[in-house]
Symmetry: C2
Subunit: 893 residues, 2 copies
Amino acid sequence: MTKWIYSFGKGTAEGSANMRKLLGGKGANLAEMAELGLPVPPGFTITTEVCTHFTQSNRAYPDGLDIELTEALAQIEGIMKKKFGDATNPLLVSVRSGARASMPGMMDTVLNLGLNDVTVQGLAKGSGDERFAYDSYRRFIQMFGSVVLGIDHHLFEDQLEDLKEDRGTCLDTDLSANDWKELVGTYLVMVEEELGKPFPQDPNEQLWAAVSAVLGSWMNNRAKTYRRLHGIPVEWGTAVNIQAMVFGNMGNDCATGVAFTRNPSTGDNQFYGEYLINAQGEDVVAGIRTPQSLTKAERLEQGTDLPSMEEVMPNLFREFVDVRKILENHYKDMQDMEFTIQQGQLWMLQTRNGKRTAKAAVKIACEMVDEGLITKTKAIMSVDPAQLDQLLHPTLDPNARRVIIGHGLPSSPGAAAGRIVFSADDAESWAERGEDVILVRTETSPEDIHGMHVARGILTTRGGMTSHAAVVARGMGTPCVSGAGDIRVNYEKRALIAFGQEYGEGELLTIDGSSGQVMLGEVATLQPELTGDFARLMEWVDEVRILGVRANAETPTDAETARKFGAEGIGLSRTEHMFFDPERIIHMRQMILANSEHARRTALENLLPYQRKDFIDLFTIMEGLPVTIRLLDPPLNEFLPHTVEEMREIAVSAEVDIETVKARKFELDESNPMLGHRGCRLGVTYPEIYEMQARAIFEAAAVLIKDGKVVVPEVMIPLIVDKVELDMLKHVIDEAGKAVEKEQGVQIDYLVGTMIELPRACLLAGSIAETAEFFSFGTNDLTQTTYGFSRDDATPFLEVYQEKNIMPIDPFLSIDADGVGELIRMGCDRGRAVRDDIKLGICGEHGGDPASVRFCHQLGLSYVSCSPYRVPIARLAAAQAAIDNLEESIENQ
Amino acid sequence: MTKWIYSFGKGTAEGSANMRKLLGGKGANLAEMAELGLPVPPGFTITTEVCTHFTQSNRAYPDGLDIELTEALAQIEGIMKKKFGDATNPLLVSVRSGARASMPGMMDTVLNLGLNDVTVQGLAKGSGDERFAYDSYRRFIQMFGSVVLGIDHHLFEDQLEDLKEDRGTCLDTDLSANDWKELVGTYLVMVEEELGKPFPQDPNEQLWAAVSAVLGSWMNNRAKTYRRLHGIPVEWGTAVNIQAMVFGNMGNDCATGVAFTRNPSTGDNQFYGEYLINAQGEDVVAGIRTPQSLTKAERLEQGTDLPSMEEVMPNLFREFVDVRKILENHYKDMQDMEFTIQQGQLWMLQTRNGKRTAKAAVKIACEMVDEGLITKTKAIMSVDPAQLDQLLHPTLDPNARRVIIGHGLPSSPGAAAGRIVFSADDAESWAERGEDVILVRTETSPEDIHGMHVARGILTTRGGMTSHAAVVARGMGTPCVSGAGDIRVNYEKRALIAFGQEYGEGELLTIDGSSGQVMLGEVATLQPELTGDFARLMEWVDEVRILGVRANAETPTDAETARKFGAEGIGLSRTEHMFFDPERIIHMRQMILANSEHARRTALENLLPYQRKDFIDLFTIMEGLPVTIRLLDPPLNEFLPHTVEEMREIAVSAEVDIETVKARKFELDESNPMLGHRGCRLGVTYPEIYEMQARAIFEAAAVLIKDGKVVVPEVMIPLIVDKVELDMLKHVIDEAGKAVEKEQGVQIDYLVGTMIELPRACLLAGSIAETAEFFSFGTNDLTQTTYGFSRDDATPFLEVYQEKNIMPIDPFLSIDADGVGELIRMGCDRGRAVRDDIKLGICGEHGGDPASVRFCHQLGLSYVSCSPYRVPIARLAAAQAAIDNLEESIENQ
C-alpha cells in the first residue's frame, strides 16, 4: 500500500534529503534535519503523490490518507505534549506547500491553525500572554479566511485600519489584547456575512480545508505561469508540510532570524545572519524593526550598538554554531537557514543551499575544496556560469548613490561612466582630448565602429539584445544598454531626453550594461579580479572540459583579451570590421563605386596591405592557435554614407560625381538587407574581393611561417546555401593560396570551410561537406531565418510574446533546441556522414550562453566561439556539461 | 559479347525507336524509319556505351569496335554500290553525334568525309559536276580542319573572303570549279602550316579521327553547361551516326527541305513544309534563298508564284505524302522531318516529334484522339503545361510591327496597350475618363493596388518575378513587365526614359508580359479562346487529375475568373488587399494610430461591415467550395504613407497631429520588414484585429447559411512558428465563432489552420498539427527564409548566379526540391503523424508552376492554389503527374 505521509521530529524521520521528489524540497530537508538530531518542530509531510491524485481526481483524497494523518498528528501531540483542539493546552500547526523546485510565493500557507474561540483561551492561559493569543487568532482568521475560504484580504485589512483609526494609532504594536479580541469578533461576524455560514470552529475541519487549499494552489494561475516560465512539469505536484507551531514572539527569551553558514556576499567562511528578539519571522523580512547581527564580529564591522545574538544568548548561539557545522558538513554546501527561539529553546525551521554572489560562489567553492569538504567536480558544479559574468566586468559600487533616468536592455555587461556624445566622430574627438565618453545613438551601424571603439559605454534607444550595438559592444567588452525606449535622442539639438528632461552633449552619464540602468552623473565602479580563486577554479574547469572554446575577435585588443580569458583560438574574425577605419573606407568605397572589374581590382589592391597587416597581428597574438577568418559578409550599402553631404565628400575622394554615388546607393538599397546581396553572394558577384582577402590571409601567414612561427588559418565563407557556390569560391581561394605559396616559397596549411547559417545549408550539409573542411554554425542568422525574426526588429513583438508567455525564452539568447537545434543537429549528422573528421563549431552570440554551450557539448561539436568576455563563462558551462554527461552515463551503466 | 554498332538501311535495321538509350534519338529514329521500309541513306550507329567507354578509358575504344565498323561500312558500300576511298566511285559519309536527349548545336558534326585529292576527282567524274565536287571538298577540309584538327575556323573563312575579294564578288555562287580548286590548294597548305603535317588523305584515318572528335565533344564545355542546365546526366553519353552522304545540290532533279506532318503553328491537319531545288540542307536554314512551299494549297495561301513541290515533283510529292502518313501513324505524334532528293530519289534524313505552338498542341491532341490515333491520356501528355499560358491571355499579333524601347522580366503574361501614367491615382482618373492605361512605376506597393486594378498593364523598372508588382499582377491576370532595368522613371518630370529618349504621360505604350518586351505605340493583340478543343482537353484533364486546384483570389473579379478557369475553391484570400480601398484605409490608419485597445476597437468596428461584405461576395461566388481566408499579414507600416504631404492628410482625417503620424511611422519602420512585426505577430499583439476579421467571416457565413447556401470557410493564420501562438489565436477565433453562432442562431462549420511558411513551422509541424486543422505551405516565404533570399532583393544576384550556372533554376519560380522541398515533406509527414486527416495544400506562387505541381502531387497534398490565370496550367500539370505516377507504378509491378 502506498504511504502518503512521512513524519519527522525528535531526532528521527521517515524521510530524508534525497526524497525531494516525494516530499518536496522543504519536507525533505526538514526530515533530514530531524534525522541529524537537530531541533526541528515535529511534523509530517503529505507526499506529492497525494497532490497528483488530488489534481487528477477532481480534488478527492486517496484512500487511507485520513487514517495516516490522524496517526501522524497524534505523534506530534505526543512529542509536543499538547493536543490539537484541546481547550487548555492546544497544539497549533502550520500548513505549508513545498514543491520539488523552489517556487517562492507562488502557493499558499496557513499558520496558527487549530485556534478557535475555545483554544485561543487555552493558548492565552498557557502562554500567560493574552495579547499574543488573540493576535495569533486574528492573524489565523485573516489567513485562513483569505487563503482557504476565498474572502478578499482587503476586507480584513480594512477592518484593522478602521480599528486603528478608532484607537488613534497607526501601529499594530499599540493595540492591546482587548483590541485584538474586538477585531476577532468583527472578523468572525464579517466572515459569516460573506460566507453565509460561520467561521469553522472545528480544528479538524480547519486542517482538512487548509490541506485542500494548499494542494489546490498547485493549479492556480500564478503557479501555472511560474511553472511555464521555469520549465517545471505540472506532474511534479507539491507536498504539504504540517508542523507544530513555535513562536519567537512570546517574550524576550524568544527570537527569530535567518542565517547563512558563510557570508553570501563575500564568501568569507564566517557565520552570518540577522535576528530579532521577541518577533515573528515576517517581522525580519518586513523591515519594521532593524534586524541585529548574529555575531559580535559582524556587529563591530557594522559599527552598531544593537547587541548580537552571540552576546545576548551566548549558550543558544553556541548551540546554533554547532548546527551550522553539522549542516554544512552534512550538505557540503553553504546553507541558508531559518530559526526560531521559543522561550530559550532553538528550533530549526528550514535549511537549503544558500544563494550567493558570483564572487562568493567562487571563493566558497575553492575553500570547500581546500577544506576537503567537496571535490573539484562538485566545486565546478557549484558556480552558475551565467553569474560569472559579474566577475569579468567593472561593476557599480553597491554603496554608490544612483539617479536613474532610464532603463534599457542589459546588452553588454559592465558599468561605465563618461560624457555624453551623439556621434562616432564626436566620440573620437572627445576621446582624443582624453575624455571618457558614452556614445548615445538611436541605433548604431558599422560606420560607427570607430566611435564605439573609443567609447567607455554605448547607449541606444532602439534595438534588442542582438542589435548591431549590442553584438559589437559584447564583442569589444564595452558596456552597452540598448533599446532604452523611455529615452529619446534629438540629434539636431544634440540632446538626450528622458522623462521630459533634456541632457546635452558633455554631461556625465553612467550606464550599467549588466542591469540596463541609465544614471545621471558618474557612479563609482569596482574593477574585476581574475586571479586567485577565480584562476584556480578555471584551471579545474579546463581539466574536465571537452568542448573547445574560442573567441569572436578581429582587433588586436579583442584578440589579446580573448587569449587572456583562455580562448583556444579565434572562431570568428569579421573582416568587414577592418574596413571602416577612415583611411581604409575610402578604398572600400572606391571599390563599390567602380564600374569595372579593373577599377575594383585597383581599389582592392590599396586595401590589401591593410588587410595583410590585420592578419599578421591576429596570427601573431594567436600564434599556434587556429584563427577562423570570415570573408566579407555585409551588404555593400553599409559602407556608403546616408547624408547628401557625406555623399558629396565621397564623390570627391572617389573621383566620381555625386549622381554616381546617389545612383549606386539607390541601386544597392534593399528592402530586406538581411536576406539580400551579402555574404558569399558578394564573392560570387565580385570574386576579386574574396581573392584579395585570401591573398592577404596567405601573405600574412607566409610572413609568420618564414619567421618560424606556427599559423593555423581557417578561411570561412559566409551564407552558403549550395555546394556549387562553395566550389566556385573555394577555387578562388585555393588559386590565391597556390600563387602565394609559389611567390613566397612557403607551404601554408590552411582549411577552407563555411558558415552554416541558413536552413538550406543545414539540409544540404551532406553535399556541402564534400567541399567544406569545417562548418561553423552561425546561430544568429540561423535563428533569424528559422523563425523569420529579424533580430533588429524583433524586440517590440518579442516583448509582447514574453509578457503573454508565448515565448518565455528569447531564441536569440539561448538556442531554440526544438527548431534551430534540430537544424544544427541535422547539419552535424549530414556533414559527418560525408566527412567524418569535419571540424564543427558555432560562432553566433549563443556561444557564450550556458544552456547553448551545453547543447553544443551534447552535439559533440569541436568548439564554441563567443565574445572574448564570455570565454570564461563558456569554459565553465562546457565543463559542467561534461560532468553532467559523465554522471548520466555512470547512472545509466 | 557487347555489340557496339547497329546498322540500318534498305528496308531493315538492327535497332529501333525504343533503343533511344543505346542509339541516341537520331540513331534510333533512323533505324526505325529504315525498318519501316522508308528510304533512309544506309548507315550505322556507334552506341552510347562506346562513348562511356571512351570517356572513362582516356579516349580508348573498346575491343572489337574496329572489326564491327569495318563490316558496317562494307554494308553501306554494298547498298550504295560505292566504295569508301575509291578513286573512281567514292562513298562519302557524314559523321554526326546523337544523344538520348536533344542537345541542339552542342556537339560536333563532319560531312562529306572520305574526300581527298584522289576521290574528289572520282566524285567530279561520277557526278559530272566538277564544281560540286571541289565545293564539297573545300567544305570538308574546313569542317574537318576546325572540328577534328582544332584549327580556328576564322582562318578558313579569311581565305575564302580573300578569294572572293580577289574575284570581285561577295557570293559563293559566283565562284567556279577552278576557284574552289584553288581554295582547296590554299586550305591544304594552310593546314599543313598550322599542324606541321599534311591534311590526312587516308579516308580511314579521317573516319576514326572524326569519330573520336564527336565522342570527345560530349565532354566539351558547351555540352557540359548544357547538360547542367537541362539536368542531363553525363553517364548518358552520345551515340555517333555514320551515314552515306546524299546530295540535294547535284542539279535541278535534286532538292532538300524540312516538313511537318501537320501545321506546327495552327495545328491544322495539313502537310506543311518548305524546300529548295538544287540546294543543301543548310541553305534552307540560312535564308539566302526564299524557301518554297511544299503544297500547292500552302503556296496559294502565301500568294507566291514560286512553285510548290506538289507542282514541280508530283510523283516524289506523292511518295512523300505516303511517308508522312506512315510516320505519323507509326509515331502517333506530329513529326518534324528532314529530307533530300538526289537525282529524283527521295531520302529521309531525320524524323522527330515536332515542336508546336500551344494552340497547335491542343488542336493536334484533340484531333488525334478523334482520329483514333492516340488515347486521351496520350493527348493530355502531349501538351506542355507551361506553354498553355499562351492561350489564356491576349497575345501580340505576330504580324504587327513592333518598336521595342526596352526589356524587362516577363512577370505576368499577356499583352496590353494603353497610355502611360506614373501613379495609381492618375491611373484611376485616366481610367475613369475611359482611357486604357499602362501604370509605370519604379516599383509598386500595396498602396498602388487601386491603380493596378484599373490598369491594362503594369511596367516597373525594379523588382523580380516575385516582386509586389509581379505577384499582384499575376493574381489579377494583368500583364506585367517588371525590373526593366534599361528604363528609368522620373516622377518629377512625369517621364519614362529609355535609351536617352523621354516619353511622357499619356503616350501610347504596349507591353508584352509573356516576353518582357516594352514597345512604343499600340501594337495589335489577339484575344484568347477558351472553348472548343481547349475545353475538351481540360475535361479529360479533370477526369484523371487527383490533386485539387484552387486559386489565390480576394476580389470578386479574381474569384469569378478563378471559377471560370476551373478552380475548386479559394486557397488563399489575402484580407489585407481589402483594406487599401480609399474609403477603408482611413479606418485602418486610425486603427494603426490608435494608442489604446479601445480606440483600436472603434476603428475596427468601422472596418467590420466592409470586411463582412467582402466575404459575402466571395462566399457567394464560391458557393459550395472551400474559401481559405488568411488573416491580416503585412506589417502595419505598409498602410501608412511615405510623403509628409500624405502624412498631413492622414493626420487630419485620423484626427491626430502630424507628429503622431511621423512618430508612429518611425516606430513601425523596420530594417527587414519581411522578418518583422507581421503575420500572426500582429494577432498576438493586437488580438482585436483578428477578432474583428473572424467575426466578419462568421457573420458573412451566417448570412449565406440563413439563405440556405453552403459555405466552407477555412480561417488561416499566417507566419506561425509555434503551437502556443496558434493556440492563443485559435482561441480568439473560436470565441468569435461561438459569439456569432449564438447571436445569429446558426451553426457554422469552419476550420482553423495555419500557413506553414517558416522553417521552424515545418520542423515543429507535429505539435502545430495538434491545434491546426489544415496546413497551407506558403512556399514564397518558405523559400525566402530557407535560402535567406529576399525576393524583392534577389534579382540582381540571382541573375549573376544564373549567368555563372550556380543556380540554373530560380527557386522562386520552381520549388527547390532538395531544400525547401525537404522542409515541406517534413511538415507533411510530421503533421500527418499527429492528425492523419489533416488537409494539406500550398498557396505560394509555385502553385502554378508545372514542376512544383508535380512535386505537390507526389507529396500527396490535397490541393495547390495559384493565380486564377494559372489554374488551367496547374490542372494540366496535376493530370500529367497523376498519369506519370500511374505509369511508373504499372512499370514497377
